[in-house]
């Protein structure tokens, strides 16, 4: 961290009282943000905090319903990204928003080519591109295609383009998500350099370490509303996390004592599998933990900590580059979901609409899908078998339907989740990976899903449970793997599983090296 930016630094951007409502959702509810010249300001918040909506308001993608944006002393209301850019607000997104098939120079000059006699002056364009990159300390061949360079370089080219238009405020939206460590270092160094040139940078990220390395101040949002603003140096990590998830760490400590009292006593169970150093560069890892038979293992961490990534590696949805899963005495590394299914794994993905439920098919069709595909096309389940299966699971999971032929798309979120779960339970798995099974469903349905997990455990089915809500993880897990910034930072077992313990493990500054086994 460089010398803290003083309060008297001139205020550049002042967002106040911004409200943005979408049908059914109040995405921003009185958002507030103050940025000063020459500071890196981190904007933090969990899912649904309103970070991206605020960015879209600042860049003119959305028009706010209420509130004001003041930039450099003048009220602004950008009407498009281009308009925002001309006002001095430039944005670089996580996915590099450049054209990979064009040359670096062209990406920098598109829309503002230097011309001679109306035709593009390429020599001049190349010179200009080289100058713009040189300012960022980059020297590269600007005539090469953009996609011949690494993502980090592409990101910096995007920044160079953003700065080319006299930016006063640079918004970096999750810029480091696809970068490896040395690339991150490079980007942070660049941010430092730009800060010293007097640029204001709004840094949106979920990487705790980077926030504490580079930012001068932090603003926290939760559920679309402003929670806090504080100098980074004065906001301890545990406080920050508490505010992001909406829990007071101290109050929690007291309540958890009670919870622990009636906490389950964990029966010593035999091991089903051991995840050993599973990882993939740029995604997550290495992750190592034990899964007992009939045990529920929670994966806890903030948004982007690598929870989903771990689940996907285990299920072969993404291919791990290192490590393995020791099961039945063999070390396996599932190369595809089919292989994982053969090992007796099942997974419900976090986005049930995009990656699971087929809304136009009936409940019955959705339930038999996985079992049918594991049997292969030649051994078709008979109509009677399908009906039996569907009815059995509708009763077992208490799925509320008018009949087994109802289209799944017409069910509520909680019931869709149950259908998805039924599909996998029908294959009689040994291990069920549930990625955010309770997201976006009502409280009652959440409770049912939780008790279902406990039922599964009693039947000897192991569960890997992912939830953004720490309470839930604490309630159902016998073992919790804590992740931060895509690394495993620790494991909690039995009695020691509390929300406070998880939060302090995430907050721990030196957590990087510990506990890989």
């Amino acid at each position: 961290m460089s010398e803290p930016v003083s309060e008297q630094n001139e205020v550049l951007l002042r967002v106040s009282g911004v409200v943005k409502t979408f049908p059914g959702v109040r995405a921003l509810d009185g958002a507030r943000l103050t940025l000063r010249r020459g500071e890196v300001h981190a904007l933090m918040g969990e899912n649904g905090a309103g970070k991206s909506t605020l960015i879209k308001v600042l860049t003119g993608v959305h028009t706010p319903d209420a509130g004001t944006i003041e930039l450099d002393g003048a009220m602004i209301s950008p009407s498009s990204p281009r308009d925002a850019e001309s006002l001095g607000v430039s944005t670089v997104y996580q996915e590099v928003n450049l054209v990979p098939t064009l040359s670096v120079a062209e990406n920098l000059c598109l829309g503002r080519f230097p011309r001679r006699f109306g035709a593009i002056d390429w020599r001049n364009a190349h010179r200009r591109a080289e100058r713009a990159l040189f300012r960022l300390g980059l020297e590269l061949s600007v005539t090469r295609r953009l996609d011949e360079h690494s993502i980090a370089i592409q990101q910096m080219v995007a920044i160079a383009r953003a700065l080319d238009s006299d930016a006063k405020l640079l918004i970096l939206d999750e810029p480091t998500s696809s970068l490896d460590e040395s690339e991150v270092d490079r980007l942070l160094a660049l941010m430092d350099r730009l800060r010293s040139e007097g640029l204001a940078i709004l840094f949106v990220t979920h990487f705790m370490d980077q926030v504490y390395r580079i930012s001068d101040r932090i603003t926290v949002f939760r559920n679309g509303a402003f929670v806090t603003e504080a100098p980074t140096a004065e906001l301890p990590r545990i406080e920050l996390i508490g505010r992001m998830v909406g829990k007071d760490p101290e109050a929690l400590r007291v309540r958890e004592a009670e919870v622990r009292a009636r906490h389950r006593t964990r029966a010593e169970s035999e091991s089903l599998a051991r995840v050993e150093g599973l990882g993939k560069r740029g995604r997550v890892g290495p992750v190592t933990f034990e899964i007992g038979k009939g045990e529920t293992v929670g994966l806890a961490g903030l948004l982007g900590s690598g929870r989903t990534e771990t689940a996907r590696l285990m299920f072969g949805a993404d291919q791990a580059e290192s490590g393995s899963i020791r099961i039945d005495g063999d070390a396996r590394r599932p190369g595809s979901p089919r292989e994982a299914m053969r090992l007796g794994f099942a997974m419900t993905p976090d986005d049930r609409k995009a990656a699971g439920i087929i809304p136009t098919l009936s409940v019955r069709d959705n339930i038999v899908l996985a079992l049918q595909s594991s049997k292969g096309i030649w051994r078709k389940l008979s109509g009677a078998q399908q009906r039996d299966l569907a009815d059995r699971f509708i009763a077992l999971l208490n799925i509320k339907v008018s009949g087994r032929e109802q289209a799944v798309g017409t069910l509520s979120g909680g019931n869709q989740q149950k259908v998805l779960l039924a599909r996998w339970l029908a294959t009689e798995p040994r291990l069920v990976i549930l990625d955010e099974p309770t997201r976006g469903i009502d409280v009652g349905a959440k409770g049912e899903i939780e008790s279902l997990i406990l039922d599964l455990a009693e039947k000897g089915v192991s569960v890997v449970f992912i939830s953004a809500e720490l309470e839930e993880v604490v309630r159902v897990s016998q073992r919790v793997v804590v992740l931060r910034d895509r690394r495993q930072v620790g494991i909690l077992e039995g009695e020691s599983i509390t929300e406070h313990a998880i939060m302090s493990m995430i907050a721990r500054d030196d957590g990087v090296e510990i506990d890989h086994g």
């Binding site: 928003n97 990979p100 829309g111 005539t143």
Partner: protein, 341 residues
């Protein structure tokens, strides 16, 4: 300029590989023909001119297709537009449509621009549907293909002679090459069109927008590219080049026919692809399309010279060649995709 700079400037980038492969294939095929059929004077100026003349209609139309494909689109209406344009041109200028039946007999100076303008309107309409209603180009231009073909028959149900003295005079325009050969008007139009298109693609900003949109439309939009102008523009250009091809074909053959030029859109696409332009959009060169056109013509010429081979071998060879080029392309884009990650 330092030595390193110079080296970098002359070293081809990966994006040049397909067009270099195309050029190599063209040279190899021509050499093969020249050696194998040396006794038949394969490498004669006559053969070379006829390569250009035979490919001209497809080549002119394929310029439009190149830009469409660069924008990540496809245009299936080209062949039908050529037929419609040629039928209209012939009918409108004809002083006598059938023995004893008088035609409109309009002056070509009026008809030719009119037909080209109608091509523009037709293409722009397709582009507007594709852009504003977010319809798939494949379907819109398929519908356009049926529509244009039907309209061609509505204009005139059979072949019609472009019976106008001015057409004859236009046919006489040619640049003499040596004392025995000359470049006819259709070849001149072909070469001029390519010359303009090659330069435009490199030096006109809006043409670079076409590459940007084909490379990544969402990014291009965020970079401030006017997507509507690009998308409607490329199909409008497709219509213009199709109509122009129809017009010059009518002048060259002296007749227009609603039943001709079937499948020309596919030949045009083949020329574009063989010329190294990727169907995935954003990568390619207009000049490659000219090479692609010549290669298609060369296949025919070699097969004809073989004598013993039947004409379907032309299609078989074109098919095999296309396969090879698509494989090469997917290999290259595959590599690009991996590196980008």
């Amino acid at each position: 300029m330092s030595g390193k700079d110079l080296l970098r400037r002359v070293t081809p980038g990966r994006e040049h590989i397909p067009i270099i492969a195309t050029l190599a294939v063209l040279v190899l095929m021509f050499s093969f023909g020249a050696i194998r059929h040396a006794d038949r004077n394969f490498a004669s100026l006559y053969n070379i001119i006829s390569l250009f003349r035979g490919g001209a209609v497809i080549g002119i139309a394929a310029i439009g297709s190149t830009f469409v494909i660069l924008s990540k689109g496809i245009d299936l209406s080209v062949g039908a537009v050529i037929a419609l344009a040629s039928t209209m041109t012939a009918k409108l200028v004809a002083e006598e449509i059938a023995p004893g039946v008088a035609g409109p007999g309009l002056h070509p100076a009026l008809v030719l621009p009119l037909v080209v303008f109608l091509g523009l309107a037709f293409g722009a309409a397709q582009g507007a549907l594709i852009h504003w209603f977010a319809l798939p180009p494949f379907l819109v231009t398929l519908a356009g293909m049926f529509l244009a073909r039907g309209l061609a028959f509505a204009v005139h149900p059979q072949s019609v002679t472009a019976d106008h003295p001015m057409i004859g005079r236009l046919q006489d325009i040619a640049i003499p090459l040596g004392d025995r050969f000359d470049l006819p008007l259709i070849v001149l139009v072909l070469l001029a069109s390519f010359a303009i298109a090659v330069l435009a693609a490199r030096f006109v900003p809006v043409c670079r927008d076409v590459y940007a949109v084909g490379g990544d439309e969402a990014s291009a939009r965020l970079m401030g590219v006017n997507i509507a102008r690009v998308k409607i523009g490329v199909y409008a250009l497709g219509g213009v080049m199709g109509a122009l091809a129809g017009v010059v074909a009518t002048i060259d053959t002296g007749a227009g026919s609603p039943a001709e030029y079937v499948g020309y859109e596919l030949d045009a696409i083949a020329a574009v692809v063989i010329g190294g332009t990727l169907l995935t959009g954003g990568t390619g060169f207009v000049f490659g399309t000219l090479l692609g056109m010549l290669i298609l013509g060369l296949i025919r010429l070699i097969i004809d010279n073989e004598g013993t081979l039947s004409s379907w071998w032309t299609n078989i060879s074109a098919g095999v060649l296309l396969f090879l080029f698509i494989a090469l392309q997917s290999l290259l884009t595959g590599v690009a995709g991996k590196r980008g990650k």
